[in-house]
Symmetry: C2
Subunit: 384 residues, 2 copies
């Protein structure tokens, strides 16, 4: 399947949750499959931290350019583009196409940098809704996402209850725990205190806060994997055992000694080459801020009272960043409101990263759910 990136321009200012607004912005997006005549087969895919609108397929002539959820979405796949019109959209504030900190602030003519306004999950959802308006889609057959993308899917059902029939929320949570916020804060401090950050206006200086980005990615990466899978993949293996040393150690505090160090350094280096530091701050903050129960005194069941969508939730047993317990909180709150909920807790060793991987039970659960959606006629009263 060949993917084609598109861009939609928006001239009207978008009011943000913070009170600020964003004028003259654009959203990068891709679509796969065909919109049916009554426009009832659209599925919106929301992305997490390090992803984009390029959800599925490859770009013409670029064999290795698979979208980040290409194992899940495509012709004959779990989310079958022979049946569904799938939309991937890049979030505001990203560094992969939609308007973000690396773009020009129309009011000043300078690059936004740290002046790009704080955007929230709710803001992203509102921007996505405007894109759907432009595409002539009133109601989504489903909105789907993992991790931070799952938060957006959930937020859709709260902000636009009449515009989404199903929400598929994978490896997500109704808010971040203190520990999650703590890891985000470590990453942010590493970036912000990098002398090359220059208060977020480093573009003009011709430098990039790569030290901070590397640390941020290393911390993040540890939390995406399970202890078990790290032990299985790397354990205590040395990169290169020293011949003649009893233990094989180099006895160095700064050289790479263990394979896990080599792997993490590589991940950090790679990330620092392509990810924008201001985007990292914005996206981790959107994660921190998401908390739909907050206005209801922390009562998730009350917060969910206006939800009309049906749900599939999926969690993974070894995911300690967005643990199954957090998914169960959402299941409980939905059941408290007599919503239609399916829930699968997948026994997978891969930690949070499992939501991007090819576990056959996971793929089958999603496939079955989308087959159900495909056979369901849209509720008449809810159509545009």
């Amino acid at each position: 399947m060949i993917a084609v990136a598109q861009t939609m321009h928006f001239a009207n200012a978008l009011s943000l949750q913070s009170g600020a607004s964003l004028s003259d912005y654009h959203l990068a997006y891709e679509t796969y499959g065909s919109l049916n005549a009554d426009k009832s087969n659209a599925v919106l895919i929301c992305h997490a931290l390090n992803a984009s609108h390029h959800v599925a397929g490859i770009y013409e002539g670029q064999d290795k350019s698979e979208g980040w959820w290409d194992n899940m979405i495509g012709p004959g796949k779990s989310v079958d583009t022979n049946h569904f019109f799938v939309i991937g959209v890049n979030n505001l504030g990203s560094c992969f196409g939609s308007t973000g900190p690396m773009h020009i602030h129309p009011d000043t003519g300078n690059v936004y940098g740290a002046d790009f306004p704080v955007v929230t999950v709710e803001d992203w959802v509102n921007a996505q809704a405007l894109l759907l308006d432009e595409l002539g889609i009133h109601q989504l057959a489903a909105v789907m996402g993992g991790s931070l993308g799952g938060m957006q899917a959930l937020s859709w059902t709260l902000q636009h209850p009449d515009r989404v029939r199903h929400a598929v929320v994978v490896a997500s949570a109704p808010n971040l725990t203190a520990e999650n916020i703590a890891f985000n804060e470590v990453a942010r401090r590493a970036i912000v205190t990098d002398p090359d950050f220059h208060g977020g206006h480093f573009y003009a200086q011709g430098v990039i806060p790569k030290r901070g980005l590397r640390i941020a990615r290393m911390v993040g990466h540890i939390t995406y994997l399970s202890d078990d899978v790290m032990n299985e993949k790397f354990g205590r293996q040395l990169r290169e055992a020293v011949v003649g040393s009893d233990m094989g150690y180099r006895y160095s505090t700064q050289d790479v000694e263990f394979q896990i160090e080599s792997y993490l350094r590589y991940q950090g280096d790679k990330f620092s080459e392509y990810f924008d530091a201001n985007t990292y701050l914005l996206i981790t903050r959107a994660l921190d801020y998401f908390d739909p129960a907050r206005l209801f005194g922390g009562d998730l069941s009350k917060a969910f009272a206006t939800i009309r969508a049906k749900f599939l939730l999926v969690s993974f047993t070894t995911d300690w960043r967005f643990s199954p317990a957090r998914s169960r909180e959402m299941v409980r709150a939905l059941l408290d409101n007599q919503r239609d909920v399916s829930y699968a807790e997948i026994d997978a060793p891969h930690g949070h990263d499992a939501f991007l991987l090819d576990d056959p039970r996971y793929m089958q659960v999603v496939r079955s759910y989308f087959e159900r959606i495909a056979h369901e006629a849209p509720v008449q009263g809810e159509k545009a």
Copy 2:
């Protein structure tokens, strides 16, 4: 109880596991209680990352100067200094008194800095044994430590099986997992890539790599606490809710928003004021390197075959850095060798930090064990 810091000088070079050696060094130590006539009541306390020889008591005229395990050790306490002669010793490479990177290299006349040799748990134990020689103590009634200190206690029973009757190993592990090494590596990279680190020779530049130390401490601190206790202590509380904002948020990527951020920044700032960056590298590497089963193909039971000491092991249910499963590995390997083992798994919410806190069941387990030691006559054949 008034503590008095002492120093022992060693003129003979100490051969290190790396092949390097350390000449003309000193060890800072403290003692509490009195050594009995046959010198059979000595208890050595080994310290973890951020601690020292100041284990118990206070310094004259300094009310707030309690030792780091003062809740555990003292007259009438779990480790009762009315019965036992307790020794606290600062490890080589530390920044709290014993010879370390901030001291002068006798061969060059310059501060060691990054040239301080890599020291291992085994090296520390050997240095501690030399201190005991100077104090005229052949055999310890017990060696005790938590976390990295527990590794030293274990190492004592392997390196000097005839010199220790009991080992008390709290919240420890027979080696670090890949995840633990990964967190250490993040901390080290944060320090080493701080422009103020200057390859470990920052003292001469009049700067301190505080950015890196702050990040290192923040990462460390997260791993010392449990997710539960973080949620209980901080949850999603804001430092200062903004009046007039629905959610109370400031909507900022760089300001402190949540209490947990404020707490972590404070911990990082405080740590960066007193802890030495080179010491941090050395101590985390000693943690990474400890692995007594390595020379036995990973078989801990084989590695433990020469152990003669009796053991008390204690772990804490919510400790995910040194989990109960790691303590159970040691219990199993000791039982495989028909050793005398007591094991307590304490249901405590505080994570790894629990080993420093006042859980009454924990304190009672240790008290009972030391009462048993106090009533036991030393085995005749094992006396000097």
